[in-house]
Symmetry: C5
Subunit: 131 residues, 5 copies
């Protein structure tokens, strides 16, 4: 299976400027390996694409995008943070939603920042977790 071979070679041959597609919950994101591993080399995303990482790369969909079973909406501020090192999101976007993704992907500088922002808000219980 040539698609399978291509998948393994991306993961094992470190190529920072190589383009990859991510299928996050059904939505396609295009980015480079450099973005995924450069800023936060210890994150789960980085370890998926680093040569000596101990993670197996995820499955790929029929167009070759790596499947990730997470929210596409709240992944957007995550990937932007990895691109340029700033947290930006629109005023209606739930900070708790982004925090949940930052924790899942193990991006701890962002987790700290978002927890501080949530702590400063007036009615934090309105987005309190259920369980």
């Amino acid at each position: 299976d040539p698609a399978e071979e291509a998948s393994l070679s991306v993961a094992t041959n470190f190529a920072p400027n190589r383009w990859v597609k991510l299928n996050v919950g059904g939505q396609i994101y295009a980015t480079t390996i450099d973005t995924l591993v450069g800023r936060e080399p210890d994150s789960m995303l980085a370890r998926m694409f680093l040569q000596d990482g101990n993670m197996v790369p995820s499955e790929r969909d029929e167009q070759g995008a790596y499947l990730i079973d997470r929210s596409p909406r709240y992944f957007e501020p995550i990937i932007n943070y990895l691109r340029h090192g700033q947290f930006v999101c629109d005023s209606n976007v739930s900070i708790l939603g982004v925090l949940e993704e930052a924790r899942f992907f193990g991006i701890y500088s962002l987790v700290t920042h978002l927890e501080e922002r949530l702590g400063q808000e007036e009615d934090p219980q309105s987005d309190r977790p259920l369980t």
Copy 2:
């Protein structure tokens, strides 16, 4: 019909990490069976994909996604809840819209949480049902 056969084998052979696509009202969501059945095994979604469930899996579209005749917009907080156990949604999103989907899919822990939130809001009648 090979598509029909594939559909049945997904439903009858329980494979938690298997990826599935859902076509919710025209929009594609990608997720795993583990997400659909893990947190709320008694929900309608779970029973569609559990081996000994008494539900017939829904029809699939031409790309193999399971067709579900519901709102894609309000399904998004539902699938995120099944992924990580928290309810998060943006500030402009109608809680009543999400509640409607939580009831349809039989996700009762979320129904209870959303009914409490709606009860606490100032002008609940603005989203009062028509019928």
Copy 3:
């Protein structure tokens, strides 16, 4: 023309659980005939898909979706209303936009409800029609 034949057979053979695709202004919606005709059998949408309706079904695009020259954004609350009988929309969505579509599709219970809501709002003239 086989596409033409398929179109006619959908319209003339009443099959409530049959899936149909609608191309509303360029966006695809997936739903069932039961949703389109069940709640409001006298609406224009219902009459497009009822066997003894006097409307000709609209043209279909290259993927078989029925073409409807209306706003996809404001159609979304319409189809959700047909799915479950409640009007829900996000807080930033224009009620006047939804009302315009409810009138076009002849869904009169929803028209009445939306006119009442608009009448209760503080500055109704801000969305006053131009002509």
Copy 4:
């Protein structure tokens, strides 16, 4: 080139109920020639599709949609206005953005309406043009 021929025949044979696709800045809109020329026959859009117009129809993309190098987001209220004669947009949408498109497409009744609305708003300078 058969695509080129099809393009010319749409433009020169006036067919009001004929469906056309527009590719506005990358997003596809589906509409009819009747909508594009009926309400504002002197607009740029109308002249692109009128038989005796002096405009050359724009290029088409690989799926046959007419390419228009403008904002898809602010085109949406424009095409809805051409569909039913009312200006509706969501509360977060920039009126200045829609005005810019109305001017480009030469839809003067809408330009006048939007200029009045902008003149009535409290802080019009917040969206003041740069140049």
Copy 5:
């Protein structure tokens, strides 16, 4: 490789009205070379498409769109600015997000304008960069 050849010829043969597709972080934008180089000929985007520019055009995806590893959401006001020379964005959109893209693409008239707007806002620290 004919796709590779086409890519080089677009970049080296200056054709202002030529249509190009940009794949910005996974989302497709359609525009013309004239828009990309006309208003801000010194920007990074312009230099990618100018004949005597010193930049190598970026890679292209499988449908021929130029890959750019940036936020599609905040690119939208950038490309609209290049189309008509005005900055417009919806009220919920983060100005800091657009500023970050304007800096990346080297569109300095817009950078200046956005920095002034951010300086005038009440709580600028809410979007303060992390690093």
